[in-house]
């Protein structure tokens, strides 16, 4: 048996031993333990080092609000930092490590930071690292220089670099009543709502339902509260209309009663079950919500309150009653309220000696004196703890007489030996979700706490959340809330009877004991009471400024244990009551949310993919696939031993010498149909389409309303009222939405229907000197010669028995044809074309060769139509019709869009015969040490087999006028500098003789 484990009690299964490691050392615990309870049971008190001063820290709480005991959990190569040890359920093989220490947790070099405590106070970095006004480290450069070292010394856990291999999923849920929190109030609410027939979801962030009933030691309906809770939860399981969500944190309350929750499905398991995600992100739409989220116990602020062994009173009570673990053998308590007396008695019953109960109040009720007597504790009323003793573990405390009316200490300090000090500074209702939902919290002077505001959305509070801290009140409020939320009316049946220790819920208004030494307010960010006062002295008196200047409440725990204390100390410094200082509004998330759960199916094996009909053929025939948005497209069809460049150069060269074929199924395809279709196209394209003959295609350009270029593509007139528009792959969705907007909102009188048919057609582009011969060899039902199929002509025929539509158009600059067939026949037609092409040396080519040939031709794509360029910048002004208005026509001639100095499309040739890089800047004068005065940038680049040179397309200031001049590439990130010549973007076959044939 472990040194601190009690013989009986709690919900841990003493027959099941779990093995895990912490900082490499092996430990054992029991099923049901958290990492915190298991380590405490093993006598471990040192859990981590603090953020700024590297002070040794133990565990402060037993739940989600833990600021100190943060660990990193390792799963294979994947590391997840900053997890509260109180929230980690142990499993066989769990590997956890402590954080922010070097070289080890026990011996930490940076603990020397404590000696410079005055230096590292609030605003230290702002003040110290301003840097000199001149010189190499002037102003912020000095900070950037120092930051590297500071970041290493201060901080939390280190993020991993390995890809997260876990699966995450997202779930939408709807219910009549969502109950958040499953303490006595939540259980009663869920039951009452379920009995009304409402669809109920009950969420609990812990693994077990029951909340405080699991450790309060109270009796409900004649049985231990924990058993009562287990029975109540078990009964709810039998309801068809109730969904129980354990390990689920409701972290966001959004408008329309939409709540976000994170379910930790498999974090507590050695490995996930089949198909189980790690986390599930719930989006819950609830008609009404019962908030039964309980309350957090507050620490007290006094010197040395952060020493390992100092803990919240209820936390120790919980470790004893729920996990069978004693936080210490000789326990002292320090309190400003009655709840600590119950904790003292519980720990006494569990086997610890209670050496003293130090209470700031002089007057104690007779009930509290009786509880103290029963715990055999020395009652020190009108006293305060002024120091703690010990190194990495508590050895004793110092107490002094204390006058709570003025905060004065008097008399000699005396020492009391103790290995554990429990503190209780009152309780703060967990109002985070209510605050997120809208209104401001209200200060209650009796409870010394912010209570939830009046609901602005459909929620009802119950239990400690409302400031009703007794279990009897929680049970009554819970049932009433559940009934009301389900729209039912109360039937006056008897409520469960609670037997509990007495106690006044109102604490004394004491938050801090002012004595020499560091008194921590925010444990996780190492903010002391003195830091708060310093901020006040320096003028940061607004609570929002205080928060940002001291970083109070800005750590991963979001100040769950520190916010009220910080406010109280600031209020005292200002000489104002707490409600006048105000509080910051809580924002989502309530506690940390995995980014993976938010990404859910958008990432990993659930991410949707778009595959062309010929996808499997490409993969089977050696294509290296490339992801473009959701699409997968062949990049190259590499031969053994080829580099990417060798492969695409071979493919492009073969296409220009004989013929090549490429899958163009990803192009956006929109059917534009109706009596006004031609008129509509005249309005959306810059050039005319009403004059286009049936059976012909035309290249079109669209502008945005602001006159900048939007998208380009060919549109085919298949019938008088029937057009097939093609768009770039990337813009297919945007163009569709653009057309729909104009038809629905701007020109509803036009009789036009648009339909996305991208997935209905498979497309293959076949180009090169032999392309026509290949088609002639396999197409039946139509001729493909120049007369039947002139440039931009369309014919219908068959290939291998399958109907196809063929348009003669060219992106590669060769004599080329796009062959479209029904998507289901895509591979069949593709294979027939490949077969027909064999005698002619037909090659397959991928995106790289496609890009190379388009760069050689100087065609534009999304890299040049980048949302900043105009038609003129891209030398497409010949497409701007003067005969009609079109979208963007009124705005395209604005001053700034026709002024000199715009970036214009040009070609670049590398003069040092070295590759060029996309995104590299272009400069007139090369200055490698201090690059400046960019005149443009490269948008696309390749090795051109047709020219035998490295070439690029670029957008260059006044580019037209610079043709024939020289400039330089300046790419300091990739250390690439070199001379280039600026030329026309039409590198190859500028008069188009090859494609016209």
């Amino acid at each position: 048996m472990s040194p601190r484990r009690t013989d009986a009690g709690g919900r841990v299964d003493r027959l099941r031993t779990i093995r895990f490691t912490f900082d490499g050392a092996p430990y054992t615990g029991h099923a049901g333990d958290t990492l915190a309870s298991a380590l405490l049971a093993n006598g471990v008190t040192l859990f981590g080092r603090s953020f700024k001063y590297h002070r040794p820290r133990g565990v402060l709480t037993a739940g989600v609000e833990e600021p100190n005991a943060l660990v990193t959990v390792l799963r294979g190569e994947v590391r997840e930092p900053n997890i509260a040890a109180t929230m980690v359920e142990i499993y066989d093989g769990l590997t956890a490590v402590s954080q922010n220490r070097f070289p080890s947790l026990a011996w930490d070099i940076n603990a020397a930071n404590q000696l410079g405590g005055k230096l590292l106070s609030a605003g230290f970095y702002y003040k110290t690292f301003m840097g000199p006004a001149i010189g190499p480290l002037k102003s912020t450069r000095f900070w950037m220089f120092c930051e590297h070292f500071i970041r290493r010394a201060a901080g939390l856990g280190r993020a991993g670099t390995a890809a997260d291999t876990a699966r995450y999923e997202r779930m939408n849920a709807f219910c009549d009543v969502l109950v958040v929190g499953s303490g006595p109030a939540g259980l009663m609410a869920a039951r009452a709502a379920a009995d009304q027939g409402a669809r109920v979801i009950l969420s609990e962030l812990e693994p077990h339902f029951g909340g405080s009933a699991n450790w309060s030691g109270e009796t409900i309906d004649g049985m231990p509260a924990a058993d009562w809770a287990a029975r109540a939860a078990g009964q709810l399981e039998g309801y068809d209309n109730v969904r129980l969500l354990p390990r689920t944190t409701v972290w966001g309350y959004y408008d329309g009663n939409t709540l976000a929750a994170l379910e930790r499905v498999t974090d507590h398991k050695e490995r996930p079950g089949k198909g189980e995600p790690r986390h599930r992100y719930w989006i819950i739409r609830a008609k009404s919500v019962v908030l039964a989220t309980g309350s957090f116990e507050r620490p007290l602020v006094f010197p040395g309150n952060d020493r390992p062994g100092v803990m919240l009173a209820h936390a120790a009570e919980r470790y004893a009653n729920e996990y069978g673990v004693l936080a210490g053998n000789r326990i002292a308590l320090f309190t400003n309220n009655d709840s600590a007396y119950r904790s003292a008695l519980a720990l006494k019953k569990a086997g610890a000696a209670i050496v003293a109960i130090v209470d700031v109040r002089t007057e104690l009720s007779s009930e509290m004196r009786e509880l103290a007597d029963e715990a055999e504790a020395k009652s020190l009323s009108g006293h305060a703890v002024v120091a703690t003793e010990g190194g990495k573990a508590l050895s004793g405390i110092k107490v002094q007489r204390f006058d709570m009316t003025n905060g004065a200490l008097a008399g000699e300090a005396r020492s009391i030996q103790a290995d554990c000090l429990l503190m209780s500074g009152g309780w703060s209702p967990t109002i985070h979700l209510a605050s997120q939902a809208g209104a401001k919290a209200e200060w209650n002077a009796a409870r010394q706490a912010f209570l939830p505001p009046k609901p602005t959305q459909q929620w009802i509070g119950a239990g400690a959340f409302t400031g009703s801290f007794s279990t009897a009140e929680a049970i009554a409020e819970g049932r009433a809330a559940g009934l009301s939320a389900a729209g039912g009316t109360g039937t006056p049946t008897a409520l469960p009877v609670v037997e509990a220790a007495p106690g006044d819920p109102d604490p004394a208004p004491v938050f801090e004991i002012k004595a020499d030494g560091k008194s921590f307010v925010d444990f996780q960010h190492d903010v002391t009471a003195e830091d708060v006062r310093l901020a006040h002295r320096e003028g940061f008196i607004s609570v929002e400024h205080l928060k940002r200047y001291t970083t109070l409440g800005m750590a991963t725990d979001q100040g769950k244990s520190s916010n009220i204390l910080g406010l109280a100390i600031m209020a005292e410094a200002l000489g104002k009551p707490i409600p006048e200082v105000g509080t910051t509004r809580f924002r989502p998330p309530f506690s940390a949310v995995s980014i993976g759960s938010l990404a859910a199916e958008r990432f990993g094996d659930l991410r949707p993919e778009r595959l062309t009909p010929m996808h499997d053929w490409h993969v089977a025939n050696g294509a290296t696939m490339y992801s473009a948005g959701l699409w997968y497209r062949p990049m190259i069809y590499g031969h053994a031993g080829e580099t990417i460049e060798q492969a695409y150069v071979r493919e492009a060269k073969a296409t220009r010498e004989s013929a090549g074929i490429v899958d163009v199924s990803t192009l956006g395809k929109i059917a534009v149909q109706g009596p006004d279709a031609a008129e509509f196209l005249d309005r959306v394209y810059t050039n005319m389409f009403s004059t286009l003959a049936v059976g012909k295609a035309r290249y079109g350009l669209m502008l945005r309303e602001d006159g900048l270029a939007f998208d380009d593509g060919t549109t085919w007139r298949l019938g008088q009222q029937d057009f097939l528009m093609t768009t770039t792959t990337a813009n297919a969705g945007k163009v569709m939405q653009h057309l729909e907007y104009f038809l629905d909102v701007v020109w509803p009188e036009l009789r036009v229907h648009v339909t996305s048919v991208t997935d209905e057609w498979a497309g293959a582009a076949i180009g090169g000197p032999k392309a026509r011969a290949i088609l002639a060899a396999c197409v039946t039902g139509t001729a493909v010669d120049n007369a039947a199929l002139p440039f931009m002509g369309i014919v219908h025929g068959k290939i291998s028995g399958v109907p196809v539509m063929i348009c003669r158009l060219s992106f590669s600059g060769e004599m080329a044809f796009e062959v479209y067939s029904g998507a289901g026949y895509g591979t069949h037609v593709w294979e027939a074309l490949i077969e027909a092409g064999k005698p002619f040396g037909l090659v397959t080519y991928g995106l790289e060769a496609l890009g190379t040939m388009r760069i050689e031709k100087g065609h534009v794509t999304g890299a040049e139509i980048d949302g900043r360029t105009t038609a003129r910048d891209l030398h497409l002004d010949w497409m701007l019709s003067k005969k009609k208005p079109f979208i963007g026509s009124a705005m395209m001639d604005r001053e700034g869009l026709i002024a000199p100095g715009r970036l214009e499309l040009v070609g670049l040739i590398s003069l040092d015969n070295q590759p060029l890089n996309g995104g590299a800047h272009i400069v007139e004068d090369l200055d490698e040490a201090n690059p400046h005065d960019s005149i443009g940038h490269i948008t696309a680049c390749c090795y051109s087999p047709a020219l035998g040179k490295y070439i690029a397309l670029a957008l260059v200031k006044d580019g037209m006028a610079r043709r024939g001049t020289r400039a330089h590439i300046s790419d300091p990130l990739r250390n690439r500098f070199g001379p280039v010549e600026i030329v026309s973007n039409h590198f190859f076959d500028p008069d188009g003789s090859r494609m016209h044939g």
Partner: protein
């Protein structure tokens, strides 16, 4: 936030795409009044309260809707087809009805 699409019923906002301020008026296509075009392309109302907006049910029926939304509470007080009854009117005209 829920938007009640006249075709599809109440649906979550993730099914919709915001398509801009519904108060904008597009000048006549041939208009050369640059001030009017500038107002249409760039000027947006930003009221604290009810706002006329265009939303597209892009994850559903793809209809554009005129929505009145309170920018402070996200309360939606009215939803109507952006097309109005133009489509019906056009069909009636084509069929010779009045």
């Amino acid at each position: 936030m829920l938007i009640t699409c006249p075709y599809c019923g109440p649906r979550d906002v993730i099914e919709f795409t915001y398509q801009g301020d519904g108060n904008r008026e597009r000048p006549q296509p041939a208009s050369q009044n640059l001030d009017a075009w500038n107002a249409y392309v760039y000027d947006r109302l930003n009221p604290a309260g009810d706002h006329n907006e265009i939303w597209q049910h892009s994850g559903g029926c793809r209809a554009h809707l005129r929505v009145v939304r309170n920018t402070l509470t996200h309360e939606i007080s009215s939803v109507a087809f952006a097309r109005g009854d133009h489509k019906v009117a056009a069909r009636h005209k084509a069929e010779g009805k009045t």
